[in-house]
């Protein structure tokens, strides 16, 4: 009876842990690659958040005398600092004597911010469009789907470049451009899922009860969309970071003193023979971040949608 009493108190308590999500988490935990990805991503995120604590100096600080020092070289002048790694240029210095480690750590902040913002823009706008098109069908669907078709006809990066070209270069504009370029993908997935969910019996039941369209969309249809969108967003995050680096590389994203990774690769690629560490470490930062996100995304897909995954452990 004690058990019964206890459960009564839990009646409808806000969002209890759903077995569905618990199961997904258990599946994800068994996937080593995904957990490694999650771990690396966590480290990078922490580094980005605590960049000021980790980096030894300002990313603008330069010292003409210590230019072009290879990784692990000691500082020319010892500084008074509590951090053990501060006495060395762990990843070397660049051609005007800036500490590469400092700049990479600060660059993580930029890259993650750009990735999350671009994905958020795509996700929110795409979900609203997809839900509207899928739920109301008929003419809203016609209008929205045709616009999406046109957007999909352009390669993503090209579309982003067009947007940047029209609103001007810069990090924020690149972010918006990538967000816009991603909208059709999210909108299509949400629309498809909504179309399928719209005819579920419990959605019809909700209509029979007399619920408003908005409530049906948010409470009964949107939850079906969450897992495919979560997978897409995770994989899209890596893509957005990569694309942002690409835009910066092409001179359409971050601008010069910024420690953005793609920009650093572009600026220093002519020094690849002599000061290889600048390009290599920035490039590696991009690669490791994107790889870890993709591993996590693949793992999420298998965990959330076990039937769709081609092979499972």
């Amino acid at each position: 009876m004690a058990v019964a009493e206890q459960t009564v108190n839990e009646v409808g308590s806000a969002a209890p842990v759903r077995s569905e999500w618990r199961l997904a988490w258990l599946r994800l935990r068994r996937n080593r690659a995904a957990m490694a990805g999650l771990g690396v991503l966590a480290v990078i995120s922490l580094a980005a958040v605590f960049a000021d604590l980790l980096a030894t100096e300002s990313d603008r600080h330069f010292d003409i005398l210590s230019q072009g020092l290879p990784p692990l070289s000691e500082r020319l002048e010892p500084i008074d600092d509590w951090r053990p790694w501060a006495q060395r240029h762990v990843l070397g210095t660049d051609d005007i004597g800036r500490d590469v480690f400092t700049r990479i750590v600060r660059g993580a902040r930029i890259s993650l911010r750009i990735g999350f913002s671009a994905v958020s823009i795509s996700l929110v706008v795409g979900s609203v469009l997809g839900l509207t098109a899928g739920y109301f069908a008929r003419w809203p669907d016609m209008v929205i789907s045709r616009i999406l078709d046109v957007m999909l006809a352009f390669p993503g990066l090209l579309l982003a470049m067009t947007v940047v070209a029209s609103i001007g270069p810069g990090l924020n504009n690149a972010m918006i451009a990538l967000g816009v370029a991603g909208v059709p993908f999210y909108a299509r997935v949400v629309r498809g899922t909504t179309l399928a969910a719209r005819d579920l019996t419990y959605v019809r039941a909700a209509r029979a009860v007399g619920m408003s369209d908005l409530r049906i969309m948010l409470r009964h249809i949107l939850p079906n969309v969450v897992s495919p969108i979560l997978i897409m967003a995770t994989l899209g995050l890596g893509g957005a970071i990569l694309a942002a680096a690409g835009l910066s590389f092409l001179g359409l994203g971050a601008e010069s003193p910024s420690p953005e990774w793609g920009l650093e690769v572009a600026k220093n690629r002519h020094l690849l023979r002599s000061l290889w560490w600048i390009t290599i470490f920035n490039g590696a930062a991009i690669a490791v971040t994107v790889l870890s996100i993709n591993l996590l995304g693949d793992g999420l897909r298998e965990a959330l949608d076990p039937q769709a995954s081609s092979w499972s452990h």
Binding site: A4, V8, E10, G12, Y202, A205, V209, G210, M211
Partner: protein, 371 residues
């Protein structure tokens, strides 16, 4: 037996009320369906859609249901019974006709008014596995309609009501914290019943509520629905294809064939003395639980399949399969007319058929060959 447990606080214009704003006069029935028509367009072409025809799912159906009454609606798959239910519930807007519920024509209400009217009419679906949102606890599922219609002021009142409803349908209050997947089909149908009762409806459309259940569970749910009717005075439109189930719960039964009602009668009258040839054929298909009778029993076996509702037969839609069909049946459509005992039948020759003892003149296949 009207509502005692159902305080019709802001109940719509009382059932007996005279004409209202919509100009729809009420004849005392709770629900009055008049000349209901639902056609679905058949289209061809991917880019430029052309309409090439109509599926005449429901074609000129009229019936009425009084408070606290059960009208059974039977017919084989694809005859339009579910579409009729959906059209009455306004889940699929009818092509034409009137659905007058509690004195108001639902087709003429604007969407927000119609949503409010939904409070008084609810639906129980065929598939108990699909009709409950798997992501919501049972308590939430039952509470949501009350919240949507602002029925109880506080959460606590709503929660109390959820417990009350769970007990009413034979579950326990602590089931509220559970999720639908933890329940069997029969239990889920009880939950669906509790959800529909949450907003104190006067009318519930039951769309094959027991077809998806084990036979052993069917009786439980039927008895539950009957019990609820006795206590709360709700009226049912009970859609089913199982004749025995329908007989058990219905006061009156309407038999549908290819989008039309062919016979409407009190349930005992219909079973003891079917008038329409299609009803006769349907009833003759019900097996009898006595092998002696079962082996000697005459069955009327209809030739062919149900014709397509896109292109239904002329005049009487049943004539190509009817053992008693005559030339007139292909030319003149029999209207659903009142015959003795308050029943209605749509057949030119029901009296002749009854006088002949209900034995088919020749096997219809032979008749076809001869013609």
């Amino acid at each position: 037996m009207t509502t005692s447990a159902h305080p019709p606080a802001d109940a719509a214009p009382a059932t007996g009320a005279a004409a209202n704003a919509n100009g729809a006069a009420s004849n005392g029935a709770l629900l009055d369906v008049r000349q209901l028509v639902k056609y679905f367009p058949v289209t061809r072409g991917a880019i430029i859609r052309r309409r090439v025809g109509w599926v005449r799912a429901v074609d000129d159906v009229s019936f009425s249901i009084s408070a606290g009454e059960t009208l059974g609606l039977v017919g084989e798959s694809g005859c339009g019974k579910t579409t009729t239910g959906n059209a009455v519930m306004q889940l699929e807007p009818p092509t034409s006709g009137e659905v007058v519920f509690e004195g108001r024509n639902l087709l003429k209400l604007d969407p927000s008014e119609r949503r409010k009217a939904r409070r008084r009419m609810q639906m129980i679906f065929q598939d108990p596995y699909g009709s409950l949102n798997p992501r919501m606890s049972v308590g939430k599922i039952i509470e949501e309609p009350m919240y949507v219609h602002r029925l109880h002021a506080s959460r606590k009142e709503r929660r109390d009501r959820v417990r009350e409803l769970l007990e009413l349908v034979g579950l326990s209050p602590w089931h509220a914290a559970r999720y639908p997947h933890e329940f069997s089909g029969g239990q889920r149908q009880r939950i669906a019943a509790a959800r529909s009762l949450a907003v104190e409806p006067s009318f519930i459309v039951c769309d094959e509520p027991v077809s998806a259940l084990d036979v052993s569970i069917q009786a439980q749910i039927i008895n539950l629905l009957r019990g609820l009717q006795d206590r709360l005075g709700v009226a049912y439109l009970f859609i089913a294809h199982d004749l025995k189930v329908v007989r058990h719960i219905s006061n009156r039964i309407a038999v549908m064939y290819l989008g039309k009602i062919v016979e409407l009668a009190g349930s005992d009258g219909l079973y003891d003395r079917p008038l329409h040839p299609y009803t006769r054929a349907l009833l003759s298909a019900v097996p009898v639980a006595d092998p002696e009778i079962e082996t000697r029993r005459k069955r009327i076996i209809l030739p062919g399949d149900v014709p397509s509702p896109v292109n239904p037969p002329s005049a009487c839609r049943f004539h190509p399969r009817c053992p008693w069909a005559q030339a007139r049946c292909a030319d003149e459509e029999p209207k659903l007319t009142a015959v003795d005992g308050g029943r209605q039948v749509a057949c030119h020759f029901w009296r002749e058929i009854e006088d002949s003892g209900g034995v088919p003149p020749v096997a219809p296949s032979e008749a076809l060959r001869a013609g």
